[in-house]
Symmetry: D2
Subunit: 282 residues, 4 copies
């Protein structure tokens, strides 16, 4: 179908919506969904996401070209996406497979509108699962001593599969700034705590030590500041004094699964706009 | 300030947003917030709420007149509201005062952008509270034997205070269709269950009997079908086998308070559009 | 290990805890966890669940025999379970497999302390999944015209695998009272609504029609009154006006999965006591 | 009535429950509610809370004396409380009154089983509210320059009213270790974040800066480590990119109110046991 999304960020000023909607009207486009937000109509930043359907056969490049003058006029940072052109995802995973399992189910059920192209791991644990779902699996050893070599191989795999977005589904290795540069705001991590509480290693153990009454999970874009990137989604689950660290882990896995899935779905549907160190979710 | 809201419902078709945003652009209006929804871009119903600020001194009637031709062209059901013209509210209450108390706090704290004009009750219990907050209180006896006379007096009070919206804050009397006709989609009730479960009387007792694990509350517009009107907001709280009916009531009061307040705030901010027997919340 | 659970229901009266704890003390048992509840200490019903570990090698039959006189004295309805003797489960499923998938995943992860002995379905859809996890799969056609024959075969399979508990993981057939008699308070269903709202068929469609703001799921023991059995667990998820019936279904599946899993785990750990038409959850 | 609570902490070993329940049985006591927890039956710590009713007129001192030998045998840290002897509370408040309002409302509604004896503030803002509910109000100026003098006066007021427990209902001053020493595990604070995130000042502003998707509140016992004391209760509320810091504050107040109330109710009902830096909630 001729379904598109246009996602726009620009300095706010009067006339933006008028110009964009006039443009779409002239294209004979039906607006399916439209969301907008301004940090401040007087000199702030403006964000717009419109999902629309062209009634006639249309050409993405032609649309882009036609829109160019509006974009230039309003100094837009913008992107036009044809809905049927699915994002290509790579999932990085380590030994804990619950997030990967959830992703595979939702993918297979048709609830994740993306192309799950490849699974990469520094362990062999996920191979069977990947193969059961017919997804290519690449084992690339990685640890802090061989980081450069590992990342070289990973980037090569990402290139081979033309990957748009990398999902760190409990991948326990740190990525270097050099690696991150290739996928700015396109690497999604799931951190097993309610950030900014328990940044870093062993959050469940530390949550247990602190005696919290709720545990959480946070999905965020990865930046070179550990666990400090823009938050996409968070959620929590209630625990109590009877729960040991192992219980927090078990309950936490359920929260991790659902938080990561929601973040992924919003991302692949182009519903997440990064603004500074925050996200706007449309 | 020159801040307005326009709320529109009309048959969906291409060009609506273009026309409205062009109109606002010509008025030199800053769009503060805009939300839209369509049940189906192909022949469905379209809903739009825009909050905007005119940069120059503007006149509500002039704006309405100018907008008239667009409205007519798209067969719009629409309303223009100047934000500083607060809705006038009447709160009807019986003997349970927790919802009224919450309303008064939020009102006094400046979190309810409305004019709480009068409190009406068929009992004297709320008089002290009303007077402590300086709100006129009218005691109008009411029960099923004197319903007509009661409603005659109530309508007279509503007229006297030029009331826009009636809040039934645990007012335990049924209102007649004749009364409701005067305030279509402008009477908000809080029902102490998760509708459609436990329609009618004594929902907490019945929830206790049924052994539910969650109790809820529902705020909805009142129609002549008891507890069947369009739902604005719902929420729940977890309970367990130790909770007696009295405990459910006590916990439930907290849920009722927050659910009714959210529904009221959305209503007075013109964020609720009734469509058939459902609501769209912007 | 020598770990046991004793679960007791009896008329409340002074001395019960003293007698049971004295008994366990004489057995040199360590109490791992103990929960009790009384509907009314003065003539009500008393419930007790104790998990304990015998320090010496013990014999279940000997323990039961020794406890007999206490049980008789207090008119106890009681059960002693050796923790390592796992309950044998059968999962009945139809065409929707999300609950089964969750069960298999939790089972494989070691989070479900039971013996998942067999999967039964009136369709072939679940066969691959069952086989991937190495669980025997029996296809038994069932519909309302061949109910008796179907149940005869099902009971034969349940007997063959010595099944303790049947899980209806979105099994869309009604079971006859004759079938239910064999598994009183041992058949767990997941209903895809927040009971008692939307009893019966097509709850998501009806939730959509009603315009609810939360959708739910309910796990309960099956009785001959449709969807009226003792509720074990319920939960909800927030939805909004943008969600179509298909969206409610998709979100609802996540709620169903987690609600059924919690109910199952509590059941296999003997944490659920049925009292009248309600449950006590320890 | 002759209703009591006994709350016990001691090293775990076999025979504790047998001894205590035997004792209660001999006192002809009905057990209303009993909760227990062990960190580890093999050498861990054991906790027990029993609420019971003596059938005959009993004498608290006699009960305590009778229990003394059991307590000594098991090295118990224990406390016997007659339920009708309500705890005397002082509420410390500053300029934000929402928590105080909630406390007063619940107190007046009979939902807080305590004696709200006095309200203390370093400002005059709460005076009218205190007086409207008939609670003595003491204005004691306090800031970091006059901390010692302020605390001297505060302690004098606490002594005058024989205060058991101090509630810091958004009291924005730090208390010195010398002050805290007088009320170990008896000063309850509400912190306006999901601890350990956003320890210290201006948590809502920092939550806004970080772009979190949930905001929280934490009620805890105050220790000399700022915001590091044992957590009693926490809860959260969902926010989104449209919420400014002021919105987080407004929503947060609702969370603060309910979290503090739950913590207070559990505390006055002797349901909270402090163990190390954690709490057990019965």
């Amino acid at each position: 179908e001729n379904r598109y999304r246009i996602v726009i960020s620009c300095p706010d000023q009067p006339g933006i919506v008028a110009a964009v909607s006039e443009f779409l009207y002239k294209q004979k486009a039906n607006i399916m969904e439209s969301n907008q937000y301004t940090t401040d109509p007087d000199g702030g930043s403006f964000f717009l996401r419109i999902e629309f359907e062209c009634q006639r056969e249309s050409d993405t490049h032609q649309l882009e070209e036609d829109f160019q003058s509006i974009a230039a006029h309003f100094q837009m940072d913008w992107q036009l996406v044809r809905v049927r052109d699915l994002k290509k995802l790579a999932v990085f995973v380590s030994k804990e497979l619950h997030c990967l399992q959830e992703i595979l189910w939702e993918y297979q059920s048709g609830n994740l509108m993306a192309d799950l192209a490849v699974i990469v791991s520094n362990h062999e644990d996920a191979r069977d699962l990947a193969e059961a779902y017919g997804i290519p699996f690449h084992h690339i050893p990685a640890n802090k001593d061989i980081r450069q070599e590992a990342e070289r191989q990973q980037l090569s795999v990402l290139k081979q599969y033309q990957i748009d977005t990398v999902i760190l589904a409990r991948y326990m290795q740190i990525l270097t700034p050099a690696f991150l540069e290739n996928y700015k705001n396109k690497i999604i991590n799931i951190h097993h705590s309610f950030l900014p509480a328990f940044i870093g290693a062993k959050p469940y153990e530390r949550a247990f030590e602190r005696g919290v009454k709720l545990i959480g999970a946070t999905s965020h874009y990865v930046t070179s500041d550990l666990d400090e990137g823009p938050i996409i989604e968070q959620d929590i689950h209630r625990v109590n004094h009877k729960d040991k660290a192992a219980d927090l882990k078990r309950v936490g896995r359920l929260v991790e699964r659902s938080v990561l899935m929601r973040a992924m779905k919003w991302h692949v549907d182009d519903r997440v706009i990064v603004f500074g160190n925050k996200t706007i979710i449309f």
